[in-house]
């Protein structure tokens, strides 16, 4: 199958990225990747932003007797927050921690006066489904229940995440709907990892190319679901693309690159939300590979993608 060409700027940067992060990730590589430099370390100073945020970590109960979980909580120092972004980090279900991806959340928090809560969920394969998503849901319940203490309006709570974190955020929206959990103002799904079947045309088309190809995706889903991955009985809370009902969900923002594994499953998710009478905004960035905006933040397409997210948040929080 003919491949989608990469955006020129992103493609030129890919040769450097590829040295650190090959497209295909196999299970044996997980320990190496966890040790390595693929994920940008985020320091306390990065989080405090010159004193504009207070940073604390809270240990809160896990779901239904699960072990306690840690929440990273960043609150704007000046004035009361207007809302909260509850963040589930990316890393293919196997990598990353509660700080991964938080800097962009802080960009939004500065702009819209938000509290940022980022959850340290247990990773696969050590913790298979439903452990990770249950940790995330437990943290969401605690956050919504402590809105007053954290200083935000409980009606202005969104979930957000990128990649595996986007899949987890989508799953949280499903769980909150199904379990009569916290009311969510929106779900920000950044190139979300939604479908364990891993067989869309884009997954096949971009195999061996870019970032997080079909092999890497198979590694991630295999870690989370074991042999059940791609089979008949996968929970929508593990793989939201499996949900049969996408109605009555909070407004969704979905973005994805046209040159990545997740393109077709993410476009399909947006389409199915519309078909179910829901609200979704979909951006497909031409020639973008997975994680393009975080790996090449200077590229024109990365700037545009970040701006599109901010514009959606602006409509969500300021209208």
């Amino acid at each position: 199958m003919t491949v989608v060409p990469f955006d020129p700027e992103l493609g030129a940067a890919l040769s450097t990225i590829g040295e650190q992060l090959p497209p295909a990730l196999t299970p044996e590589m997980i320990p190496i990747m966890r040790e390595g430099v693929a994920l940008a370390p985020v320091t306390d100073d990065d989080l405090r932003r010159g004193g504009r945020f207070t940073v604390e970590e809270r240990t809160v109960p896990g779901l239904d007797g699960d072990p306690d979980i840690t929440l990273l909580i960043c609150r704007p120092v000046d004035g009361r927050a207007t809302g909260c972004v509850y963040h589930t980090h990316g890393g293919g279900m196997v990598l990353g921690d509660r700080r991964t991806g938080v800097p962009e959340m802080l960009d939004w928090a500065e702009r819209f006066s938000l509290v940022v809560v980022s959850v340290e969920y247990r990773l696969a394969p050590e913790t298979p489904h439903p452990g990770p998503v249950n940790d995330c849901y437990a943290g969401l319940l605690w956050t919504a229940g402590h809105a007053e203490e954290l200083g935000f309006d409980p009606d202005r709570l969104i979930v957000a995440g990128g990649s595996a974190g986007g899949g987890l955020a989508a799953a949280l929206a499903l769980m909150a709907r199904d379990r009569k959990g916290p009311a969510l103002l929106g779900q920000m799904l950044i190139y979300p990892m939604l479908d364990d079947r891993n067989d869309t045309p884009s997954a096949v088309q971009m195999a061996g190319l870019g970032v997080w190809d079909r092999t890497a995706n198979s590694t991630g889903w295999g870690a989370l679901l074991g042999d059940a991955a791609g089979g008949p009985d996968v929970s929508p809370y593990a793989a939201p693309a499996r949900a049969e009902d996408l109605s009555n969900l909070p407004p969704a923002f979905i973005d994805v690159g046209s040159a990545e594994t997740f393109r077709d499953e993410d476009v399909a998710y947006a389409s199915r939300i519309w078909q179910a009478g829901g609200r979704a905004e979909l951006h497909v960035w031409p020639g973008a590979f997975h994680g393009f905006d975080s790996m090449v933040p200077s590229a024109a397409l990365s700037q545009d993608a970040r701006e599109a997210r901010v514009r959606w948040l602006n409509r969500l929080f300021n209208q």
Binding site: P8, A13, L21
Partner: protein, 403 residues
């Protein structure tokens, strides 16, 4: 994922850094990236603002080290930047350099490291000499920018250039084709241009730089017949145009040139006709053929009407003049000096003759010609005869061709 910008910004001046820089810009070119992407690459890799300025093509791009494009002050008119044309005739004269040089606020600071990319300049906004990686970034980015400029903004080959100039001076060619030709030759769209016709037959079109036009100055006057003075004449003529790309600039040499008036692009056929007329009034600037090797049509005034005479060699005064010149080799240079200076004393100084020697020659000349050279009516006859004689020597029937 580790931020690429951080990683690339921390590049050391080692071999792997060089390989990455080269691979990055090669990748951009292969993928057909645009100019802003290239300037962005330079800014991100060098870790400082980078800019690309090409006044002739109206390209002004500036990008900050985080990749954000920043508004670039663009020159409001050709006054502000160097005028670069497809085929330049001369470097701006020193007196004009203040006009022709880019203003620091608009296109850079001389302290910034920069590299030429064709008619464009790529700069890093960082004072001091560039480090090894900076230099690598500059060179690779400039090479990539030149590729893109040539592909997208048009860069005519030498052969194309001849055809394009032919198009520009052809009144029968469709206007849009002539406008397109002007763009391909990198002529500013809304600034006037001159046609310059050389005696060798070559035709050039050069962008005019707006500059004060001294109204009192007539055709420039040769001090001597040396080629050195001719080329300096060319430079100091009010052509004031067109610093060509260094790689394409041809030295004016000793060629005589007629210069048409500065006109809008679509009026260039008229400028071409005028330049051909002006060329006929030029002279070699030697003792045998005294006169100005470069003539601007606009300076001819009513003299231009003489060019319509079918056979200037048949005019009786011209016959007399040419016959006299054959017997007295000093005659033409003497008459030229006398008719273009305000006194015999000045003419003697010009000719480096003793005053009394010149008086003797003038008397001899008046005898040969049969009219007075010094009283006003005779002076006019002399000047007309000299002008008609030049027209006779330079019939310009043969086709001139662009070059």
């Amino acid at each position: 994922m580790k931020d690429l910008a951080v990683r690339l910004a921390a590049l050391d001046a080692d071999a792997s850094a060089a390989v990455r820089v080269i691979a990055y810009f090669d990748g951009l070119v292969e993928a057909g990236a645009g100019l802003q992407s290239i300037v962005r690459g330079a800014a991100v890799l060098a870790g400082c603002p980078a800019r690309l300025d090409d006044p002739a093509r109206r390209v002004h791009i500036r990008v900050l080290p985080d990749g954000v494009a920043s508004p670039s002050l663009s020159p409001p008119s050709t006054l502000a930047g160097p005028s670069l044309s497809a085929s330049g005739l001369a470097e701006p004269s020193p007196a004009l350099s203040g006009v022709a040089e880019p203003s620091p606020a608009l296109s850079g600071d001389e302290r910034w490291p920069s590299v030429r990319a064709g008619s464009a300049t790529l700069s890093l906004e960082r004072p001091g000499p560039p480090g090894p990686v900076d230099q690598m970034v500059l060179e690779r980015a400039a090479g990539a920018a030149r590729t893109v400029l040539d592909r997208t903004r048009g860069r005519a080959s030498a052969t194309d250039e001849i055809a394009l100039i032919e198009l520009l001076i052809d009144a029968d060619a469709p206007p849009d084709a002539r406008q397109r030709a002007a763009r391909h030759l990198a002529l500013p769209a809304d600034a006037p241009a001159h046609v310059v016709v050389l005696l060798s037959g070559r035709v050039r079109v050069t962008a005019a730089v707006a500059a004060p036009h001294p109204p009192h100055q007539g055709p420039t006057r040769p001090e001597a017949g040396s080629s050195r003075s001719q080329s300096s004449r060319l430079q100091s003529s009010r052509l004031q145009s067109s610093r060509a790309e260094s790689s394409r600039a041809e030295p004016p040499g000793n060629d005589r040139a007629g210069i048409g008036p500065a006109v809008p692009i679509l009026d260039l056929p008229a400028s071409y006709r005028a330049a051909r007329t002006a060329l006929r009034f030029t002279a070699a600037g030697t003792d045998d053929d005294p006169g100005d090797p470069v003539i601007r049509y606009e300076d001819l005034g009513a003299l231009a009407a003489l060019a319509t005479i079918p056979d200037p060699g048949a005019v009786p005064d011209v016959r007399v003049l040419e016959h006299a010149a054959a017997t007295a080799p000093w005659l033409l240079s003497t008459l030229h000096a006398v008719s273009t200076t305000i006194s015999l004393r000045a003419a003697a100084a010009r000719l480096r003759l003793h005053h009394s020697t010149l008086q003797d020659r003038v008397a001899h000349a008046e005898h040969l010609l049969g009219w007075s050279v010094r009283e006003p009516h005779g002076l006019l006859r002399t000047q007309l005869a000299l002008a008609l004689s030049r027209l006779h020597r330079t019939p310009l029937d043969g086709a001139t061709h662009p070059a």
